[in-house]
Symmetry: C2
Subunit: 452 residues, 2 copies
C-alpha cells in the first residue's frame, strides 16, 4: 500500500461529490480506504460534510472512523446523530471503544442509546466498563477475548475458538480459565498450531502469566507491558476472575498521550491542546500559566523595591539591576533542568536512594556548574567594562542562586509525587516563577552584604 496523503485535489473531489449529493461516487470512493485515512479526511472537512459522510457510509466502517477522528470532530458528529444512529455505530465496536463513545455522552443520552442496542450482552459489557475510573486498567480493557477451559482438549479448543474468534478482532493470546472463570494461564496461537489435536489444554498451557487487576493504575499497566514486552495483558478482579484484556495498541496511545501531557505541562500549557485548535481554546490552555508568571514578575518588582532604599549607597547601583534578567534566567533554567530529570526519573522508577542524598548530589552538581559559569562570567566581565569586585559579586550570587534553584527543582516534584500529585505540574512555569522570585531575592541580599 502506498503512503496515504491528503491533497487539496482529494479534498476537492470529496467536497464536490457531497455538493452534488453523488452518494454512489462517495461510497465507491471510500470503499477500499482504511478507516484511519477516512478519519483524516473528515478532520479536514466542515462538520456538515463530515456528518454527511458518517450518515452515508456503512456503520461497520464509520464506527471505526469515529474512533479515529479528532475529539472535537467526534463530539460534533455525536451531537448530530440520533440515539438510534449512535447505537448502530456502537453495536459494531468492541466493548472498550463502545464504552469510550458512550462515555462522551450525557447520562440521559447514554441511556437512550443503550436502549436501542439489541445485543444485551454487549450492553452489559459496556455498562461494566463505564463503571471504571479513567486511569484504571478496567477503563482501558476490552471484554472481547478468546478463553478456553483448562479441561478441554486442543481439538475442542480449536472448535470453540473458531466461534469466539469471529467476535475478536485480533487474537493475541488464548487465555486458559478454570470452571470458576479464574485465570489459570495462557496458550499462544503458535503453540496451539504446533500441538497435536488430542493433547489436553492443561498439558500445554503456560501457567504464571502476567496480569493486572481491574483497579490497577494505567501507569503500572504501561510499565509492566513495556518491561515484559507484552502485546496483551489479561485483567482480573480481586478473585482472579478473568474480566478482559488490554492490548498494546491501546497502551501505545496512552503512553503517547502521557508523554504529550508531560511535555505540555513542562512548557506551561494546560494539557490537551493542539496546534490547530482555535484561539479561545489555545488561550484557555496558555493564559493560566502566564498569569502565574505575571504575578511572579510583580513579586520580583516588590522585592527590588523593598531593597531599593537600603542599597542606594552602592556605587553604580544601576549595573546591579542590569543583571536581574541573567539571574532570573539562570534560576529558571537550572530549576527546569533539575525538575525535568526528577520527573522523568520518577516516571521510569529510577529515582533511588534517600531524598537527602538526592539533594546533596544536586548541591554538588550545582557547585560544579556554578563555579564554571562564575569563572566564565569573571573572565568576560572586563570586556564589558565591569569592575572585578562587581563581577565577583554577581558570580557568587549566581552560584548561590543555582544551588537554591536546583534544590527547589528537585525537592518540589519529589514531594508532590509522595503526596500522590503528578510531579509534571511542577516543571515549567511553576518552577521558573518561584525560582525567579527566590533568585532575585538572593541576588539582592548577597549584593547588599558584599557591596555595601
Amino acid at each position: 500500500m502506498m503512503s496515504f496523503e491528503i491533497t487539496t485535489e482529494l479534498l476537492e473531489t470529496v467536497t464536490s461529490y457531497i455538493e452534488a449529493s453523488n452518494d454512489t461516487a462517495l461510497v465507491e470512493y471510500f470503499e477500499n480506504m482504511h478507516h484511519a485515512d477516512i478519519a483524516e479526511i473528515l478532520d479536514e472537512l466542515s462538520f456538515e460534510e463530515a456528518i454527511y459522510i458518517i450518515k452515508l457510509l456503512d456503520s461497520e466502517k464509520t464506527s471505526e472512523v469515529l474512533m479515529d477522528v479528532d475529539d472535537d470532530v467526534r463530539e460534533r458528529i455525536l451531537k448530530n446523530l440520533t440515539a438510534k444512529e449512535i447505537a448502530e455505530e456502537v453495536e459494531e465496536l468492541d466493548s472498550d471503544d463502545a464504552a469510550d463513545i458512550l462515555g462522551e455522552l450525557s447520562e440521559e443520552r447514554q441511556e437512550a442509546v443503550m436502549s436501542q442496542i439489541e445485543d444485551e450482552e454487549h450492553v452489559k459489557e459496556i455498562e461494566e466498563l463505564l463503571t471504571y475510573d479513567e486511569d484504571t486498567a478496567g477503563s482501558l480493557m476490552a471484554k472481547e477475548l478468546v478463553k478456553v477451559n483448562e479441561n478441554w482438549t486442543v481439538l475442542k479448543c480449536v472448535r470453540e475458538m473458531r466461534a469466539q474468534a469471529e467476535e475478536v478482532t485480533r487474537v493475541h493470546s488464548i487465555y486458559v480459565i478454570d470452571d470458576e472463570e479464574k485465570l489459570k494461564g495462557r496458550l499462544s496461537l503458535k503453540d496451539l498450531l504446533i500441538a497435536s489435536t488430542k493433547t489436553a489444554i492443561s498439558e500445554v498451557y503456560i501457567p504464571n502469566v502476567d496480569y493486572v487487576f481491574d483497579h490497577d493504575d494505567l501507569d503500572e499497566v504501561s510499565f509492566k507491558m513495556r518491561k515484559y514486552d507484552l502485546e496483551a495483558i489479561p485483567v482480573v478482579d480481586d478473585n482472579h476472575v478473568l474480566l478482559g484484556r488490554i492490548t498494546i495498541d491501546d497502551m501505545v496511545d496512552v503512553i503517547k498521550e502521557e508523554a504529550e501531557k508531560d511535555y505540555q505541562l513542562a512548557a506551561g500549557i494546560v494539557e490537551d491542546v493542539e496546534a490547530d485548535d482555535n484561539i479561545l481554546e489555545l488561550t484557555k490552555a496558555r493564559l493560566p500559566w502566564l498569569i502565574l508568571g505575571l504575578f511572579g514578575g510583580l513579586g520580583c518588582v516588590l522585592i527590588m523595591d523593598g531593597f531599593d532604599e537600603s542599597i542606594q549607597a552602592i556605587e553604580n547601583i544601576e549595573t546591579l539591576f542590569f543583571f536581574t534578567p541573567l539571574i532570573a534566567a539562570m534560576a529558571g533554567n537550572v530549576g527546569v533542568q533539575s525538575s525535568a530529570i526528577i520527573v522523568q526519573g520518577l516516571a521510569n522508577d529510577n529515582v533511588k536512594g534517600s531524598l537527602w542524598n538526592r539533594l546533596l548530589k544536586e548541591v554538588g552538581l550545582s557547585l560544579v556548574n556554578g563555579i564554571v559559569l562564575g569563572v566564565i562570567l569573571i573572565a568576560v566581565a572586563p570586556f564589558m567594562g565591569l569592575e572585578v569586585f562587581y563581577s565577583i559579586t554577581v558570580a557568587v550570587s549566581m552560584l548561590c542562586v543555582i544551588i537554591v534553584a536546583s534544590l527547589v527543582g528537585t525537592f518540589v516534584p519529589i514531594v508532590l509525587d509522595k503526596r500522590g500529585i503528578d510531579p509534571a505540574i511542577a516543571t515549567g512555569p511553576f518552577i521558573t516563577t518561584s525560582n525567579d522570585i527566590f533568585g532575585i531575592f538572593l541576588f539582592f541580599l548577597i549584593a547588599k552584604s558584599m557591596l555595601l
Copy 2:
C-alpha cells in the same frame, strides 16, 4: 504472577550467594525469574557481581538479560566478556537484538565476535542489519519472520510454518511472498486457523498490506504503526523484496525514547541522561545550555547599559529596571508555549496551512493573552504604588514582547523543521534566551519612547 519488586532482602540474598560462590543456589534462584526482572537486579548490583551472574547463567537466559539492563551496565559487562562469550550470547538473540549488541562494540571486536558465531545465516543477517543508519526502518527490523509462498496450500503452509515458527519468538502475521520473494500480502493466524487445509494461500491472503521501505525514517514507521494500529509491519527494499519486520514492542521503546528526548531538549538538557547518572555526566548534559543562558543574560546587561545614558531623564528610572525580570519571564514563557505547540504539531503532522496563517494566528492569540495580562497589570499596579502612566507603559511593552516572543517561538521550529533539523532543539533554553534578549530590548525601546 505477582508484581516483582526489588527489596534490600532480595539483593542481600543474591549478594551473599555470590560471596559464598554458591552457584547452585544462584542458578536455582534465577531459574524461573523473568529476564527483565533479572536485569533489574543486575542494575542494582556491583559490576563484578553482575558479570559473575552473566557468566554463571545459561546464555539462553543471559542474552535476554543483556538486552534489558541499563546501557552503562551492558557496556561494562561486554567489556569483561571474551569474544567467544559474547558470540554465545549473540547466537541466542534475534537478529535485531544481536545487531544492537554488536553495534556497541569496536569494529575489531565485532569481527572477532562474528568469527566465533557458528550459524553463518545469522552472521549474514546481522551484518546486513549493521549497514543501516540509526534512524531508519532497516536498523530496527528483525530478519526473523514467517513467510509463505502465494502458490502453497494452507496445509503446506502450516507444515512450513511449524518449522519456521520455531525460530520466531512471536508470530504476528504470516507474510505472503511470490517466487521472487516480493511481498504480496499477509495472512492472519486467525484466518489460517479458520480456513480449511486444502485452500490455496492465494485465495485467503489479504493483499494491500501496509509496509515500509528499509530506508524510511523511524518517525514515519512509528506514525504508520500508530495510525493503523499495527502490531508488526513488514520492511521491503525498493524492489518490494521482503527484508524483515518491525514489531510494536520495539516501536514502543522508540516512541518512549523520542518523547523523553524531546522532553529533555525542552528542559535544556542534552538528551540521554538519567537521574542516577554521576555528576560529571549530568554536568555535560546541563552546562552547555546554562552557558548559552549566561551569554543571553550578559546580552541583556549590554542592552540595558546601552540604553542607560539616553534614558537617565526618566522619572523613577529604577522602577523600570524592577520590571526586567517580569518582561524576561513573559517573553520566555510565551516563547516556550508557542514552540512546544508547534513542535508537537510537527511531530503529529497536524500543523496545516501556510506559515503566514500560522504566524497571523499567533499574533491574534498573543493580542488576546497580552491584553488580558495588561489589564490585570494595570489593575494591580496602584496597589503596588505604581503610577498609571508607568503601568500602561509596562503593559504596552509586555503586549509587544508577547507578540514578538510567540512569533519567534513559532517561526524558529518551523524553519528548522523545513531544513531537516529536529525542531525540538529550538524549545527550551534556546527560545527563552533569544526571547529574553528581544524582550528586554523591546521593553527599553518602548519605555524610552513613551516615558521620555
